[in-house]
Symmetry: C2
Subunit: 334 residues, 2 copies
């Protein structure tokens, strides 16, 4: 099988964008990079342009990106950027019927209803890249959404999983950035430490899979092997295991609906223990923030996401303590 698909990568210098290029580099016959977009690391973007020689070059300009996306030549649009600035490019991709590999959280969180409505209207292939949502997407293959009783999003627990309320006050940026299992970007690693990452994923899952908030649960699973689970209304659960390496869900999304063999690491379960706990909502109220925001509706959800963005910045800049992130978010959102 040679796929021969032309791809645009939005956010090519971020963690997930770089890993998408790793997958493409390993499969030069299947993908041709026709456009790159990034704005935080011009030096890396230049070296990516040199390596992949995209026809449309590299840019951080939204209008230039929209041109790449809308080009007849483009088959796949990989959305690896953070934030909502490039939402118009996503909407273009949906309307143009491009296959979309979606690694951006904020657009779904803030504009989920609008995006999913368009996806259904244009019948667009829209494959989540985030490991939990990729897992749910995979578990639902061959199944009907209406047969779902609930889904369980697993959560590593982040760098501060085992800390007491007192210890949380003194968590430094360095500690919050030391994620136990995943190798990810800075913002998302802090979000993992606060469980705000999981809160945003609850909201994402609601939109992506058309579920009620009550159908979405979270379990702490420190080993990050079970990526998520779908329980059907007859009690059977289809679950997803994977080695915690983002290149695996990225490759899944790029090849979907095909499956391409690869040399990426495999799960080894021998002598392993997989553990599951309820999240500690008292120390990490983020999960509750998600449910509360979902019940209040889109404008509260937007406030929640934006308050978190600012709180993380304040924490990284040393303006607030780790546990003050929660206080800031709660005060600004509800």
């Amino acid at each position: 099988m040679i796929l021969n698909k032309k791809i645009v990568i939005i956010g090519s210098t971020g963690s997930v964008g770089r890993q998408a290029l790793d997958v493409i580099r390993d499969n030069p016959n299947d993908f041709e990079v026709v456009g790159l977009s990034a704005h935080q690391n011009q030096e890396l973007l230049n070296s990516q342009i040199e390596e992949f020689t995209p026809k449309f070059g590299g840019t951080c300009d939204l209008e230039e990106v929209r041109k790449m996306v809308n080009s007849k030549e483009t088959d796949i649009v990989f959305i690896g950027c953070r934030g909502t600035d490039f939402l118009p490019a996503l909407i273009d991709a949906i309307k143009a019927g491009k296959k979309i590999a979606m690694a951006n959280k904020e657009m779904i969180v803030e504009n989920g209803e609008e995006i999913m409505k368009l996806i259904h209207e244009y019948d667009t292939e829209f494959i989540p890249v985030d490991s939990e949502h990729s897992a749910i997407f995979q578990c639902m293959q061959g199944h009907d959404k209406d047969d779902i009783e609930k889904i369980i999003l697993t959560c590593s627990g982040g760098a501060c999983r085992d800390k007491t309320a007192e210890e949380l006050e003194n968590v430094t940026v360095e500690v919050a950035l030391s994620h136990p299992t995943w190798n990810m970007g800075k913002k998302i690693t802090i979000d993992s430490a606060t469980l705000m990452n999981k809160a945003l994923e609850i909201i994402e899952a609601k939109y992506l899979f058309g579920l009620n908030a009550e159908q979405i649960e979270v379990l702490i699973h420190p080993q990050s092997i079970v990526h998520s689970m779908v329980q059907f209304k007859d009690g059977n659960m289809i679950t997803h295991f994977g080695y915690p390496d983002m290149r695996i869900p990225i490759a899944y999304a790029l090849y979907y609906p095909d499956i391409k063999d690869n040399k990426l690491p495999r799960v080894d379960l021998v002598d392993k223990k997989l553990e599951f706990y309820k999240p500690n909502i008292k120390n990490f109220p983020s999960i509750d923030f998600a449910y509360k925001a979902l019940h209040q509706g889109p404008s509260t959800i937007k406030k929640l996401n934006q308050a978190n963005d600012i709180a993380v910045k304040k924490f990284v800049d040393g303006e607030i303590l780790f546990n003050e992130i929660f206080q800031y978010i709660e005060r600004e959102t509800f």
Copy 2:
């Protein structure tokens, strides 16, 4: 949804047959029992006939059973009997295009090639009921067999899991019958204790899913929550969790491709540990017997199954010790 399907149960007084009738009893609008067959417990058969008033009554005669199966009225044939005596009735059901819920191991083990050839020829719906094979079947929904890298059959380890070689010599019938998680028939519980059950399941899986022996692994998983796993060639694993209650895979098979809600127990993962170990082949050589028999072909496989049947009988009758089951099987098979 009212299914309104007419069903014949072959082996209605055995463990799995009784549990199929439990599911039917709970869903009287969906199923009508039109025929029952059993031969080991006439008293129970009589009370089942009184309760379900099947049109064709109850019988243990093969020709009578074949008439029930071939009747135009029959929609579903549930094969819950042990042994291969009723193979002609299974073949009738396949050729008549009935939906088949298959809980019999021996027919697949001894006649897998012939059965699967007919199933493909007649394009028959053939749904495994055995929890591991139901799990694999469920994990493969929406996926292509050719994308499978390997499957892992999980195994509780049976009643003698933690015993040393010395302790195995002294295992009594009572101990071998005390299965830690599943409530099953006598023969299959002894087979669980020797891991011969898993050996037969390896052979079943090879035929049911058209795999090579090398693609089938076994892991001991004492909690019996993960029922089996499918690893695809891109490293993603789709796995199945379920509460260890045979009524769940039975209901799945009866309703397939629909999913019907039920009040059967659900998996609760909170504060659970799921463990996985390699089987101890030295103490339990059964797994190796399966691979060896698969490499030697159908006549050895038949000998393996039949030698095990006799060995279990000898053990239950007090003629041989527990660990002599392995010696007997090896001597008679290879």
